[in-house]
Amino acid sequence: MSATWRRRLPAIAVGAPVVFVLCWVLFLASGTPAGTAVEEPGEFLVTLLDGVTFAGLMFVVASGFTLIFGLMRTVNMAHGALFLLAAYIAIELQQKMAGKSRNLEPEDVSIASWVVPMLVGAGVAAVLGVVIQQVFLRWNQGQDLRQALITVAISVIVADQLLARFGGLAQRMIWPEAVTHFIEIFGQRYATSRLFMLGVALLVGALLWLWLNKTRMGLVIRAGVDDQAMVRALGINITAVFAVTFFVGALLAGMGGAMGASFAGVAPGADGQWLLNSLVVVIIGGLGSIKGAAAGSLLYGLVVAFSPAYLPNDYTFYSIILTFALLAVVLAVRPYGLFGRVE
């Protein structure tokens, strides 16, 4: 009897809060900014979309982080710095392409003058990532703490140089005009740019899936995640695969940077914030798992979107505590995250 209870405990620990949250959002949340979902379906749908679109952005950033960790066991603490670097480069290039640096409006921005800066910014971040990997990380493979400290030092230097070069004010990238509209959802206006962001994230996710599952290199990477020594023994040049993986991981951070700069703007400190977002996502989802990054972003994105909208009116600023509660529940049930593996 008691053994059965013990086995069911994790399911109860997860199930009870989930049921409570569902009931709360659907029927009980009348004293909250959003109101109950039954009475205010528009508010509910908008909050849901907010959560899912933000999750898309987080997936792009966090999948790069988890890809690098999964193969190389390197925790890249400079991931946020690469994000910020790409964001600043993309903003500057967009202003050059649009021909003006102040009061840039969506009318000035074509699709190309959003996509090209994003790719260039992400490319610079990717090249810097490979340089970091080749110069500082290649020769101490396996010393995970030392690698983390090295990337911490690099992130401090990069952040300080970015502050010197781009100043302390918040800057933002502008979405192209073609996607800057509003649609109606149950009487609520919703910005199509957020849906565009979700689309880009889904495209990135699909390409990543194709690369990892349908190409030879993806095969090698997945094999390397499982058993690096065996891949090496089969005569595969895994050092080159490491460099490519770091390139892609940093590229994803950079693409996320340009998307984040368009979505909410960037300022000094955004690097730490996005490092945190990546960490929370991969801790929830499980380090090294792309599936985990998707699940973690979705859960975290939904909590971030729903908690300020559905907490009682006077308590909305406690929403950050719910993020912690999510983390605590996941860790209590699965210490290595939803899709993580015990080493």
Partner: protein, 353 residues
Amino acid sequence: MSSARNDGDSRIALLVVLAVLVALPSFGSEFFVEFVVTRALILGLVASTIVFLSAYGGMVSLAQLLMYGVAGFVIGNCVPEANNKGLKLGLSPWVAVVAALVVTTLVALVLGALSSRTFGIYFLMLTLTYAVIGYYVFGQVATISGFGGITGLDPVSVFDGPVRLYYIALALSVLAFIGFRMVRRTPFGVALEGVRDDPVRMASLGFHVPLHRAMAFTLAGFVAAVAGVLNVWWNGQIDPNTVSIGATIDLLIVAVIGGIGRLEGAWLGALVYVAANNYLRDLPFADSVGLTEARFNTVVGLVVLAIVVLSPEGLTGLIDRARSGAKRRPVISSGGSSAPPDSAVHTSVPNTS
């Protein structure tokens, strides 16, 4: 034999340093005592909890500055003379100190229990997440602080005044240093080192591995809380920036500069860090190579990068290496009969315990 002599040497060196520190207020400038050494002692005290957890428990924690901040915020919410922020519980200052230590220790217990089953780099990331979430909790929850923080916090009257604060910081640092070293000799400390080296074997020997890790984290949280109380007294205020991600990384940097394997490295790293922060701009050549105060972080980043790449044991590792190098030469010149070269090499291996 040579390692026993080394131990005696370091004890003498530590006593000399202590004597100098005790006498410091009589010959050092007021600024140096209050803003450099006192600050370094407080920072060293909290950094020593990182070193303790890392060296004895194999856990690199980034949540120690959060513990230090939690203690500060508890004081800010308890004492009556704080400005109009916080809960203003109006407790007497000593009760506030006790409350700060108790609350922080409990927070450390909960966070330690939550993370006690995660190891290695995973533990580092989890504690970093605690730290950043803590920053946002204090920033966003306006009833306990808000981003502006709480100002107007004076020390308990017994410790008011820079020199008194200096001595209490010194006394508590010495106490923590001796205390951590004594913990290592207790059955708990020995088991903790076992857990660090081989958790699976310890578990199969019947030790409760997560419990030992959680307890070590709680103890470190308590010491960090002591440092946090001192920090509030020294600073006169507390705000979320005290526990921001940047400050958290800075504290890790302090521990790394000193050498993350040795307790005394925490205070050494803190002194170097604080001194660099205060005096870097005064160096004669600084301006000509673009080393302005504003680019302090770049300099710190480069220094840390150099340390991690060249000497992962930090400054204490460099000192050890220099000392064993100096000892080695006479040994070899005397024909190598008194000690095999191996033992000289052995002393240069960082003492991770």
